[in-house]
Symmetry: C2
Subunit: 365 residues, 2 copies
Amino acid sequence: MRGIDVFAIFNFYQSNNSSIAIKMKSQPITIKDIARILGISPSTVSRALKDHPDISPKTKQLVQTFAEKVNYRPNALALSLRSSKTNTIGIVIPEIVHHFFSTVISGIEDVAYGRGYNAIICQTNENYQREVIDLQALVDNRVDGILISMSKNTHEFAHFENLKENGVPVVFFDRICEQISSDRVIADDFEGARIATRHLIDKGCKKIMHLAAPQHLLIGKNRKEGYCSALKEHKLSCDDRLIVKCDTRETVFARADDIIRLAPEVDGIFAVNDSTAIAAMQVLQRNGYSIPKDIAVVGFGDGPNANIAYPPLTTVEQKGYDIGQAAMRLLIGHIENNVEEEEYETKIFTPELVERASSQLGTEY
Amino acid sequence: MRGIDVFAIFNFYQSNNSSIAIKMKSQPITIKDIARILGISPSTVSRALKDHPDISPKTKQLVQTFAEKVNYRPNALALSLRSSKTNTIGIVIPEIVHHFFSTVISGIEDVAYGRGYNAIICQTNENYQREVIDLQALVDNRVDGILISMSKNTHEFAHFENLKENGVPVVFFDRICEQISSDRVIADDFEGARIATRHLIDKGCKKIMHLAAPQHLLIGKNRKEGYCSALKEHKLSCDDRLIVKCDTRETVFARADDIIRLAPEVDGIFAVNDSTAIAAMQVLQRNGYSIPKDIAVVGFGDGPNANIAYPPLTTVEQKGYDIGQAAMRLLIGHIENNVEEEEYETKIFTPELVERASSQLGTEY
DNA sequence: AACGACACCGCAAACGGTTGCGACGAATTA
DNA sequence: TAATTCGTCGCAACCGTTTGCGGTGTCGTT
């Protein structure tokens, strides 16, 4: 008896709904809608949908097939509000248009997707104020955790402290905040530079120039020190005269004279990044030097430029994708083991040498 | 009388809260907490916080300063649930690690930030299934609108139709779906190719080779047709013999022989993208040709490679940032004017010529 | 016939916030 | 003095979902 009624309404709803769908934006169907149409209570619908033992097989069947027909989907907002779990994490980075950072994001995304998390991405454009506001917005939206790479212009850390007080799990990556104890995932610039420089020495270089970034930046300092360390390992002196301060294409051209003046006495160059290395090769080539026959060159991986260079550039690759994955895994660990371990972890990724033509000293390309 | 009581509790709460903050993750404070502590109702607190005229100045003052002290922040989830407005939009793209796409995202982000929107980013990795799931997740999270660039492997469009039925505003950009009527923001590949080819002709080229992408891809087809169109404009014939099918660095090297065989009779090359153009230059240079003295080269902008090339590559820039901004603005228009206009707009961005050394036919670099 | 056991389902509160409406006291007006 | 107005505030419902608990009806058991 009652079954007939229900199915009448059922069919009515179906045809009615589909005709509506053509004309207007129909609000998504809710559990209450289903309950009203089927003449049962929302709680029964809820339980039926998740196979609760209290519900009879018939009711379950009815509710489940109906929900299927009308394409019911639970409202994630309501679920989040009730459970205080959004399955969403926040990412705060200086800029997206940067090969390294977008690679990291890609790694984060892939792990997140596999574990059922969504990612809200905020780009600070190296702006401190925006970093503060972005973090606040993420907290307001009750993200389950946050991954941060700090802006260059951030010198106060109250907004980071604030996260800890709010109980939001945080993992810093790449541009970590030394003043805040937390999980960290970083690339080992020192070791990367040492590997690059060692490689030049292995290739037979006796006197190696370094194109360096400003020493107040961590990467500038660490990469230079890695360079010096490799030299000393091999009883070579670390001569300040061989260190030219330039870290962009433009600054290379601006200091081209200095490079050319030093060129006759060196047989290798380690540049703080790839675009600097490539620009240096071009300056040298224009002045009659042959790479890698006369001078071998190694860069430091900031993208896919190395392959395009002429000759293809030997470089050390920063494993952005791995860093992203590791950071996300660490974060998930903190989110899902609500264990209050004050034990913070630091994961270090050592860059990997990718050997190409530019470092084959003495050979023609 | 009562004032004294309240402030006593006030102070108690303050000291109590701060001591808690040190030890444990304190749950964020809610309107109900404030109401309980201040001995008034949640509705009064809510109204006081937004200067409702029904509330007395004294109460407003009390509530507002207290909220300030305890750093009250409204729960965005609760607001969204009630208002059905999340101030969040979804972005679905094939891959993040791609200069063009990350540039688009940057444009989207900046507009979104200015208008108070957050962005959830999903990367499909050119996977149809993932595209479906990502869209569903965005709808479940009740985003206010969605920006999509389609995956290459998407050949069914039910999930797009589904969005329209759910009443979610959608704007397609770059990889649009021709089968779905909607707002669109695209780059004009045809016109870009025409501009590039025209430029070569202006520089004195009489016979221009084209390195083309597969013709079943829209960009391959449009760019080739733009190339032909420019030739015909200038009474030059569009000779299929001068069209070499290669669109990556690897395919250029694979078909190097074909290119070298044609080289003696051509004085210009238009390549379907920058990396192809750069690889072609390298092949030619290795075979004794001088660029741009013997042969002028123009690429098609897919990144910052052009600057790094030797010689610097003339190219047409796809305005990713502008496309992102425009797409977001269109979307916001649809979200905020809930006017039901079935008028869909298509914005077309014409690439812009960026002239560098590689196209200065006859000159030495 | 009265009892407990069990299957099945609904009520109501909760998550955090908003808002229409009614209540109450005080001040103003007739 | 009685009626009206106004300034303040709280009740309760609502957004969509979950869940503890209590209620109902149908059995079988003694």
